[in-house]
Symmetry: C2
Subunit: 436 residues, 2 copies
């Protein structure tokens, strides 16, 4: 059968990986797809790089707009990233009736509603398995594998950089700043790591998964985002003593009054499989009403793992491109006219459990005062550590784990605790999820 | 849009679950599939049961052959099981131009080649996500999610009964027979548990995954199958002391000279995520050349988890049934004319590591004799435990872990060790996989 012609925009890490894997496994991929999938054109500002990666044999250009307008191209693979020119290129490609494969989570989380609407109108596919959790086929699982279910919640370790940092902090007992430097030296963190360590990247991915799980529009601007930069080693240690690990989770949960969408460091019981996902690995846990919990684990970044997802999308698009659009798998798992306008809840309305660490005067009645405040707020205590004060010190740490409560209720109780004269400074507060 | 009409054959555990989930989540499923999916007819020998589960509103019959011949039915769901009447019904349904969804791993592992050829000829789909690992979308991952990769190997905990028994044996230090009774009382093992504990069920599933991973025909008759009935608690304990867990794995690996396909108790490093899959849960680890290792975890059995997979298939078939057959996802991941006749290797040719436990006289030179035999056979020792003999005893246990070697080489070395006068009785031998 006639080959499918692919135009590749961007030949950086993932672009290079895609080119190489497609070439190396050409025979195997054709055996699956039923026809050859060929990158015929590569666009990159750096023609030198494009030449050295491709080794010739394909058309090279520094004009990506020429590629999305090229009538010979069937599928455009966008691997430029960001919201700027990438958005224009994707919309132009769609407008020209081309199918699009992209790994651009930022673009989809922020402009996905516009992009999918345009694709719907033109009857083309926009595939984005590589946008979430690299090579793990989590988009496919959410969109096709779990269609029987009402998804109840999902929680994912979807940023390798931060998981690497948290694993190292726990393993070696080192503070955040030091481990960040190590991660940068090892190439696990970028020179400007802000998007990763502040949780923005994870929030992009959680936004995409949330839309697909619940049939709602992308609402990245409503996501609550808290990174790991303020996490202290002491809390990792205390969490461990209580049988918990701290992971940066992207969480989305369907509630009666809306959808939770949040990224923050989270205590999870060490017995959960996902608590044992270490280093730069990713994993997503999905809870469906019929299937129960399923977990998907693998490499969330890197040239070839991400290429694996890009190429899986190319095969899917190749297989489906002759199907009538209304019988294709819908972009966001639900039929476009079936997307429901359910709002993302503000963080104050989120229902979660808490880890509280407070510095207190070592005096009688302190614990009674604190527990009284929690009881008055209907917050039950699940576990507690009270440390002996260190030799010669008059202050000590109390650590408490609470049962679930709405965040505004927790906030009010914490404010009252901080106002107690025997409590020194701020209460350190982390969220805790049992994931059951 | 006009509903898709489904005929359900068999309203036992999974049939009942499928009926209930489809009804409960009707709205959500229709929002995804784009049209209603309706069970219009149920066939079961037990009409009483069918009536009580469905509560009326659907046609009931005890004649399944009437359902597969009914022109009103678009998709037949076969949940009867076994090779007998189920095979006739599936082939008849295909012959009548109906798409088929089945959870019947035994049927596919043994008669899959014939069934898929018939489906190919008629241009209908046979979907079977529920046949392997229950609600985990592993078939979809292998067939669609990992299409970029040359799959190198896969290894799965794909039988919940045996994983429950092994978890309990380790946790409680109890022997197999006792835990089996407990599993039967709890409903985790059937009254006749042969298929589960002897590894046959796992081999059915491994056969199906192997065919999909490597683009080869089903070769169940070539699978090596060893269950857990002879596993001793002592070996679970020794394995643990060496940092390993014992799991019943279904393993398939592509080698230069063929494909390995085997089910047996296997030591795996306790640090691997899959080593920590406990109780009746399932997990499959897949190694691809681009993506690296990915893992899929969830419930491998039960009414609603299995129904989740059956219904996902129904949605897939509903979405794809208007596509031209040659652009559909091929049944076995590879295009039918691209299936390669690669043979399954006999167990003697398998490449693996070993755990060896032997009872020896506590005399000088014993260890030298044994290690000399292994060295002569080019088998390296990776770790060893030599126990002090118990008070007043003249014999003791030696436990060794070896590096990889071909099984026939290991067999020859073990025979020579057993022939040593200082070695008492048979050497206990288990296989070990590092899964890396």
């Amino acid at each position: 059968m006639k080959p499918i012609n692919v135009g590749l925009l961007g030949i950086g890490t993932v672009g290079g990986g895609t080119f190489n894997v497609l070439k190396r496994n050409e025979e195997e991929i054709t055996r699956r797809a039923g026809r050859p999938i060929r990158i015929t054109t590569v666009a990159d500002k750096n023609l030198e790089l494009a030449r050295s990666v491709t080794g010739g044999g394909v058309k090279l250009t520094d004009d990506a707009f020429a590629v999305v307008a090229d009538p010979e191209i069937d599928i455009v693979v966008e691997l430029i990233g960001g919201y700027g020119v990438a958005k224009d290129l994707v919309l132009k490609a769609i407008d020209n009736g081309k199918h699009v494969v992209t790994a651009n989570k930022a673009l989809l989380a922020v402009h996905g509603n516009e992009i999918f609407a345009a694709a719907q109108k033109k009857g083309v596919m926009v595939a984005f398995e590589a946008a979430v959790a690299g090579g793990i086929p989590i988009i496919k699982a959410l969109r096709e594998g779990l269609t029987a279910n009402r998804i109840q919640w999902l929680a994912g370790i979807i940023n390798g950089t931060t998981n690497f940092i948290l694993s190292e902090m726990r393993d070696k007992g080192l503070p955040f700043a030091e481990v960040l430097k190590e991660a940068q030296a090892l190439g696990y963190a970028e020179a400007d790591p802000t998007f990763d360590i502040e949780g923005v990247d994870a929030a992009h991915k959680a936004t995409i998964m949330s839309a697909m799980a619940f049939g709602i529009p992308m609402q990245f601007d409503k996501a609550y985002i808290e990174g790991i930069t303020k996490l202290e080693s002491a809390d990792i240690t205390y969490a461990e003593q209580l049988g918990y690990r701290i992971k940066l989770l992207g969480i989305s949960r369907k509630r009666d009054n809306g959808v939770e969408l949040r990224v923050h460091p989270t205590l999870i019981p060490e017995k959960r499989l996902i608590a044992n996902v270490e280093g730069a690995m990713n994993a997503v846990l999905v809870q469906g009403d019929a299937v129960g919990a399923t977990l998907y684990y693998g490499k969330g970044a890197g040239a070839e793992p991400t290429a694996s997802a890009v190429i899986a999308d190319l095969v899917d698009v190749t297989r489906l491109h002759t199907a009538d659009p209304e019988h294709r798998v819908p972009h966001l798992a639900f039929q476009p006219d079936q997307v429901q306008d359910i709002a993302v809840l503000p963080i104050e309305e989120v229902l979660t459990s808490y880890y509280l660490r407070m510095r207190v005067e070592d005096k009688p009645g302190v614990l009674a005062d604190i527990t009284r405040i929690l009881a008055d707020s209907d917050i039950s205590i699940d576990a507690m550590i009270q440390k002996e004060p260190a030799e010669g010190e008059a202050q000590t740490d109390i650590i408490m784990l609470t049962h679930q409560t709405v965040e505004k209720n927790a906030n009010a109780a914490i404010a009252r605790i901080e106002a107690l004269p025997v409590v020194c400074g701020k209460v350190t507060r982390l969220r805790l999820e049992n994931l059951q």
